[in-house]
């Protein structure tokens, strides 16, 4: 494995070495776990707030507005102020809710991004868990979130919430399939499920270009299905504001509401990150054929920045969808999945398999 210019492996190795030489192995493990946990906690909080701010500014720009401008320069502190407000708000538990499930739901929803984020390689050597079944782990864990949404809808004892929860259930269960299948298409191309290896394989060129037609189709399907899975417009049926007021989180307030809110944005990040890893080469810089000069300039940009540039590109695309399209109806959403995305996907897997067998990709 060739070392990158901006590889984090020496840093992590050095920390590990320093710890293991000074304290017992068990303590080392605990300390490392704590460091990673705290880092992820911080990352999710900061990145969630940042994404909320970005969303507001992007949507404002689409709508010819300015967005938040009052708190801090260019409204930079607005989301922090909002977060402080949410923290201080009273936690209202309506009278006839199922108390245990009602309180459990936000935690289930927020746990999912914590689990998924652990397999994401942010930069060379900056990955918490490197399974050999990384892709499988992501698809498996991300479907747990729907249980939280369903529980929230059911336990709130509110009809709007219930409709929202049920819609969300039907929607996510169907779109899981598309997400999984488009990932499988790429797994066929890569021949492995280990995320670090998938990224490494794209050194010569991103899978989007390597796998040409089937990869492009898979990419589109992944972005559409990913948007649906994160419950974002035009697939935001579960919380369709003009129909269900706020859907499954109607009855939540304060920090519990913030959990739903944060989880939505972190899920957005995870979907974008997965698209980046599988299709756009993760932290791999953009290389163009044998233009050595150009490629060297690209190599000069650190992998971490490459990763986030790509992620934000896809996040922008998904936001662009949300702020342009009207919302679909529940039966149309299911039609789209079962009548269009799924057949195309199955066909696409076949195409990809044929291609890989015949060695048509480059």
């Amino acid at each position: 494995m060739a070392f990158e210019k901006y590889d984090f492996t020496p840093l992590t190795q050095a920390i590990h070495k320093a710890l293991i030489e000074n304290v017992s192995p068990l303590l080392t493990l605990i300390i490392e776990w704590t460091i990673i946990g705290v880092l992820f906690l911080l990352f999710i909080a900061v990145f969630g707030l940042l994404l909320v701010y970005v969303e507001r500014k992007v949507c404002a720009a689409f709508q010819q507005r300015l967005g938040p401008m009052r708190v801090g320069p260019w409204g930079l502190l607005q989301t922090i102020a909002d977060f402080v407000k949410l923290l201080m708000k009273e936690l209202i538990t309506p009278k006839s809710v199922d108390k245990f499930l009602y309180n459990l739901a936000p935690f289930i929803v927020i746990i999912v991004p914590f689990l998924t984020i652990s397999v994401i390689p942010f930069a060379p050597g900056l990955q918490a868990l490197d399974f050999d079944i990384g892709i499988f782990f992501v698809t498996a864990v991300s479907s747990v979130g729907v249980i939280g949404v369903l529980l929230a809808g059911w336990a709130s004892n509110n009809k709007y919430s219930l409709i929202g929860g049920m819609r969300s259930g039907a929607q996510i269960v169907s779109y899981e399939l598309s997400v999984g299948m488009s990932l499988i298409t790429m797994v066929i191309l890569a021949g492995t499920m280990q995320i670090s290896e998938i990224v490494e394989m794209q050194r010569g060129g991103w899978f989007l270009f390597k796998g040409h037609i089937p990869a492009v189709i898979a990419f589109f399907i992944f972005v559409i299905a990913g948007t649906a899975e994160t419950n974002r417009g035009p697939f935001d049926l579960a919380e369709a504001e003009s129909e269900l007021t706020a859907g499954f989180h109607t009855e939540y307030s304060g920090i519990k509401f913030a959990f739903f809110f944060l989880a939505e944005y972190i899920n957005l990040f995870i979907v974008s990150a997965m698209a980046t890893i599988v299709f756009l080469g993760g932290w791999m810089p953009f290389h163009f054929g044998d233009w050595a000069g150009f490629n060297n300039v690209m190599d000069f940009i650190p992998g971490l920045i490459w990763f986030f540039m790509k992620v934000f590109g896809i996040i922008f695309l998904i936001m662009w969808f949300k702020w342009t399209f009207p919302r679909l109806r529940i039966d149309q959403i299911l039609t789209l999945e079962w009548k269009y995305l799924l057949p195309i996907n199955l066909f696409n897997i076949l195409l990809m398999a044929t291609m890989v067998l015949l060695g048509w990709h480059w």
């Binding site: 720009a61 709508q63 269009y340």
Partner: protein, 160 residues
């Protein structure tokens, strides 16, 4: 075969229709200098209301602290909401004649619907619509205003 072709054509048509929509929003996204939002309290100095804008009823006074109101009460009659109250008093003028003049022209801003009927009906054009639109107050007492200034008197030559 035809149905398969239609199926694929349908997909491409759908994608095309979505892309045209995205083009419209993108056009505005990438031209942020065309934004229409105004930063309101900051632009107070440059914010000019149109001269016919009906913000509140005011009574213009000239530099000698004189107004044109005779206290006839026509505006009070014409007001649909009872937002104008005229309190007049009797005085004796230089010639020794008794005369009724305005004591207080009371205007309840909170009840006003800015219909312009009082201004239209005023025979001596004593009241006009002002352009001030910032009508937020801490209590409702301050929304009751006396339009004629203290110590002011009627302009000479105004027909009674």
């Amino acid at each position: 075969m035809k149905s398969t072709f239609n199926y694929i054509a349908e997909i491409f048509k759908a994608i095309w229709s979505l892309l045209t929509g995205m083009k419209v929003t993108a056009k505005y996204f990438f031209t942020p200098w065309n934004n229409v939002t105004q930063q309101y309290p900051e632009n107070r100095d440059t914010l000019v209301m149109f001269d016919r804008f009906r913000g509140e009823v005011i009574m213009p006074h000239d530099e000698k602290n004189e107004h044109k109101c005779t206290g006839c009460g026509i505006c009070e009659i014409n007001c649909p909401n009872g937002s104008i109250e005229i309190i007049s008093k009797s005085i004796v003028n230089e010639e020794g004649k008794k005369k009724r003049i305005i004591d207080q022209h009371i205007y309840h801003l909170a009840m006003c619907t800015f219909c312009n009927l009082c201004i239209k009906s005023c025979p001596s054009d004593a009241i006009v619509m002002g352009q001030n639109f910032e009508h937020a107050y801490w209590d409702r007492v301050s929304m009751t205003k006396v339009l004629n200034r203290p110590g002011s008197k009627i302009m000479e030559g105004v027909k009674e």
